[in-house]
Amino acid sequence: MNTASVPNTFASSTGTVSLSLLDTNFTSYATFLNSTFLPEITATTIPSYTASTAQMQTATASTVFVSSAGQKNHPAATKAYASFIGTATGTVSFTGYGVTRIVRAGTGTYSVVLSTGFASTEYAIVGLSSQANSLLSAPNIGRQTTDYFEIKVITLFTATALDPNYVHFSVFGI
């Protein structure tokens, strides 16, 4: 709770008090109150106190809030992810976030278009593929631009392209 204390400007041991002196003291008191009590943060003023994109990316500020819209700008937040069936053809249906389109370009090769491009090609993609049979497969990142990258899935030991049952990936960057 904010608290107010009486400013010690009224001490006088003798004399009478005039109305004009009362007015002056009330004005001083109002000034004191105004300087003591900071503006209250309300629902309408919250945007003024939420972290900017730059503050989210720097990730050090502790005097502003994280908004729902700005949370994704934190460097530790995933910028995109998706899960899709590797045996699908053409434009592939997927569940995910931050991804506009996934297209199977060939056996085991998938092109991913991101909804929002990165500032540079220096971002990280991690992925996993799964198989119903006993083949070991591994996803591999091919060409990578600011808003597009390729996933290539291969069979281990032979390095041949393979359509896995599922491909999952997640993308991190700034």
């Binding site: 500020a61 993609i125 591999n140």
Partner: protein, 172 residues
């Protein structure tokens, strides 16, 4: 700003009231203001309402806020990620977050130092390699970091992958 409407009745004639009477009335006014205005959120009070690291990690409180500084402490947040060229030597330049350093030990073998370290060795590492057919796996894990191995998909021999990328999840 909240405003208070205050009326004061002087027991004495205000034109001849004593200063002691005025002091008492102002003291009463302050008590009135303090009891009337509830605690409210201001810019300087934001840190008091920010979630602690423990609250972010527990991810259950609905009475505190996330800030840019503490968001990473949330259980759902990755604690580190990086992308680097495995063909580099020595101390490797990388892009990432939550990583102190990456060094090459030998062909296709690397050490990653986390900054800050993890709370225990029970954490998650997922990694993927670039290149035509490379794949990777993690090796030994300590709270301070872990090792990475990069391999050729053709003969599973260790090799320097052109781009190694990983994420780390867990508690710090």
């Amino acid at each position: 700003m909240p405003t208070a409407s205050v009326s004061i009745e002087f027991s004495d004639n205000p034109t001849s009231g004593s200063t002691e009477s005025i002091d008492q009335n102002f003291s009463d006014l302050c008590s009135y203001v303090n009891s009337t205005l509830p605690g409210y959120l201001t810019a300087t009070a934001i840190p008091s309402f920010a979630a602690t690291a423990a609250q972010q990690s527990a991810a259950a409180s609905i009475t505190v806020f996330a800030t840019p500084a503490n968001q990473v402490k949330h259980s759902s947040s990755v604690k580190a990620w990086a992308r680097f060229a495995g063909t580099s030597t020595g101390s490797i330049t990388f892009v990432g977050y939550g990583v102190g350093s990456i060094s090459k030990i030998a062909t296709g073998s690397y050490t990653v130092a986390l900054s800050p370290p993890m709370a225990s060795t029970n954490y998650m590492v997922v990694l993927t390699c670039g290149g035509d057919s490379d794949f990777g796996r993690w090796g030994s894990m300590t709270t301070a970091g872990f090792t990475i191995g990069a391999f050729s998909g053709t003969d599973v021999s260790q090799r320097d992958s052109t781009a190694i990328q990983f994420i780390v999840g867990g508690f710090q």
